[in-house]
């Protein structure tokens, strides 16, 4: 059984209009999901497709109104297991400034394990380990507001890592970052996945960021509508665009060239792949 598993997951909320009538909205409308431990999963979907609502179910910030979600076989509905769920599945949000609370980097990273009741001497070790893993140890004595956006996001990730989670959910962690910050955060997350075996669930609007994921899910209207490897999903260019999504720019270029009659494979994901494919064609 997977580390994150959902069956018939629904989330319904009531919207009150100005004339006091009520409307039921299904933010999630029957999601089935099975994420294996150690996988790197990417979730795509337009604004309002339900992907953030799904993310919030993974660490029990929201509880399903129908169906069930299990994190490491724990049903999130059981209130007594709330902290067990949150220790297993950590979450990183879009805006680094909204999730950093410490006045010194060290202190900020220590907040999570402190809340779990880890003894002080062990916290120090955990903080060091976590900061090393995200490559921020040399900034441990700095004030977070003197860091760049990408560095702050890595501190936020270290804060989650220090809780030793089995799974990290990142909800558009790079939306506010410049290209280098984006690259650094992505590299950090991939390293945690490969070296530490942490399961990663990455939500993003940047198509280039998901090409190295094991699996991509596309969401629409509270459901998972496409699922597969990045190559499988991005070779269906028109279908992806129909869901208000996009494909990486190079995938689009390869697709245009195919339409114009060049015999290229479908689902090219990286510039070097396209260069190789074109070079092979020329021979």
């Amino acid at each position: 059984m997977g580390i994150v598993r959902a069956e018939g997951l629904k989330h319904e909320y009531t919207k009150y209009r100005e004339d006091e009538s009520e409307v039921k909205v299904h933010a999630l409308n029957g999601v089935d999901l099975d994420v294996k431990e150690g996988e790197f999963i990417a979730i795509l979907g337009h604004n309002g497709s339900g992907k953030s609502t799904l993310a919030k179910h993974i660490n029990a910030l929201l509880i399903p109104t129908e169906g069930t979600i299990w994190i490491d076989e724990i049903d999130t509905k059981g209130e007594e297991d709330l902290w067990k769920v949150r220790q297993r599945a950590g979450m990183v949000f879009q805006n680094p400034d909204n999730q950093i609370i410490g006045t010194v980097v060290d202190e900020d990273v220590a907040f999570g394990p402190e809340n779990l009741g880890v003894p002080t001497e062990k916290i120090v070790k955990r903080v060091e380990e976590a900061l090393t893993k995200v490559g921020m140890l040399k900034h441990r004595d700095k004030s977070p507001n003197r860091l760049s956006g990408g560095q702050k996001q890595r501190v936020a990730i270290a804060g989650v890592v220090a809780m030793r989670p089995r799974c990290i959910v990142l909800d558009e962690p790079t939306a506010m970052l410049d290209p280098t910050g984006r690259k650094d955060v992505l590299r950090t997350v991939h390293e945690l996945n490969k070296k530490e075996g942490v399961t990663v669930i990455l939500i993003t609007h940047y198509m280039e960021e998901v090409v190295d994921a094991d699996k991509v899910f596309v969401m629409d209207k509270g459901r998972i509508v496409m699922e597969g490897t990045p190559r499988e999903v991005f070779s269906r260019v028109e279908e992806v665009k129909g869901y208000r999504m996009d494909v990486p720019q190079v995938t689009e270029l390869a697709w245009e060239l195919r339409k114009a009659g060049l015999d290229l494979p479908a689902g090219i994901l990286k510039p070097e792949e396209l260069v190789d494919a074109l070079a092979a064609l020329k021979q």
Binding site: H46, L177, Q249, L274, A279
Partner: protein, 307 residues
């Protein structure tokens, strides 16, 4: 010249240990009707720069001229300047506050001293310009989707009838279709009304597509200023500054290294496609007829593959 920066410097915390020179002797001349992309890593000084354009920040040294007049001159009317040079901040939807959309958009023109009727005319026009469907005009702004809220916020600035529109990452956090819609709308405003656009963006693909001039900010200086093609030809230096070139530009350089006769300055999908087809001796597809209507009025299914 519409907007001119003469030897402008800005220092945060001057004389203290935290002294930071955010702008370092910057010279810039912006002509009316340009579409300018501003790129630079976080902390490069680009936000400081754009806040100088409408006198939100006062330069430590140097002069800023709007239509030839010093905006920090003795009797200069900065209030009018701020309606002429409209600034849309990052995540502008956080600044919506009125009970309905139309009242929110009327706030700016009312502050300019226009009558309620005039303000309403301006607001309605701005809402049409950003392509928000009429059914939402009386809704609470907080009931709208992220992309819709952002349109309302941009309309709030447009309603003041600016000559220059500065947008600080207007598409951050929007999905790809929402991003295309907002940028198409801005491009439409630029073409239709001749407004000068200054677009701050972290997306090299977007600035390559829309801007006719790129300004690179790094360490408070402007190392590159030119057409996107000129600027992206320095892609290795850009990388050292925490920036990059569009993905297709890398493909073109890769192909050239492998002996292909391709145009390495191609920075959009269409240009790259045409150049590669030519190198393969294939015919180039006829360009699609340019659609000048704002994106909101096109059929949804008609969204073209682009960037």
């Amino acid at each position: 010249m519409q907007l001119e920066l003469k030897d402008v410097s800005f220092t945060y915390n001057p004389g203290m240990i935290y002294e930071v020179k955010a702008l370092d002797h910057v010279n810039l001349a912006i002509e009316k009707g340009q579409f300018i992309g501003v790129i630079g890593h976080t902390g490069s000084g680009k936000s400081t720069l754009i806040q100088h354009f409408n006198a939100l920040m006062k330069p430590t040294e140097g002069q800023i001229l709007y239509e030839g007049e010093d905006i920090w001159g003795d009797k200069y009317d900065q209030k009018t300047l701020r309606t002429q040079v409209g600034l849309v901040f990052q995540y502008p939807e956080h600044q919506l506050f009125e009970t309905d959309v139309i009242t929110d958009v009327m706030f700016g023109p009312k502050n300019q001293g226009l009558s309620l009727e005039e303000a309403k005319v301006r607001a309605l026009r701005a809402l049409v310009q950003v392509g928000l469907p009429e059914q939402y005009y009386n809704s609470s702004p907080f009931e709208l989707s992220g992309g819709q809220k952002r349109r309302v916020a941009i309309a709030g600035v447009l309603a003041m009838d600016p000559q220059v529109l500065i947008l600080d990452e207007p598409t951050a956090g929007l999905d790809p279709a929402g991003r295309d819609e907002i940028l198409d709308q801005i491009s439409f405003l630029h073409k239709e009304r001749g407004i000068t656009i200054i677009l701050v963006s972290h997306s090299m693909e977007d600035v390559a597509r829309y801007a006719d001039r790129l300004i690179v900010v790094n360490d408070g200086k402007i190392p590159f200023d030119g057409t996107p093609k000129e600027v992206f030809s320095h892609y290795k230096e850009l990388e050292a500054m925490g920036l990059a070139a569009p993905q297709v530009t890398y493909c073109m350089h890769g192909l050239q290294e492998r002996g292909f006769d391709v145009d390495v300055t191609a920075d959009t999908v269409e240009e790259a496609r045409d150049s590669i087809l030519k190198a393969f001796g294939r015919s180039v597809p006829a360009p699609e007829k340019e659609d000048n209507r704002p994106a909101g009025r096109r059929e949804k299914s008609g969204r073209k593959g682009r960037r």
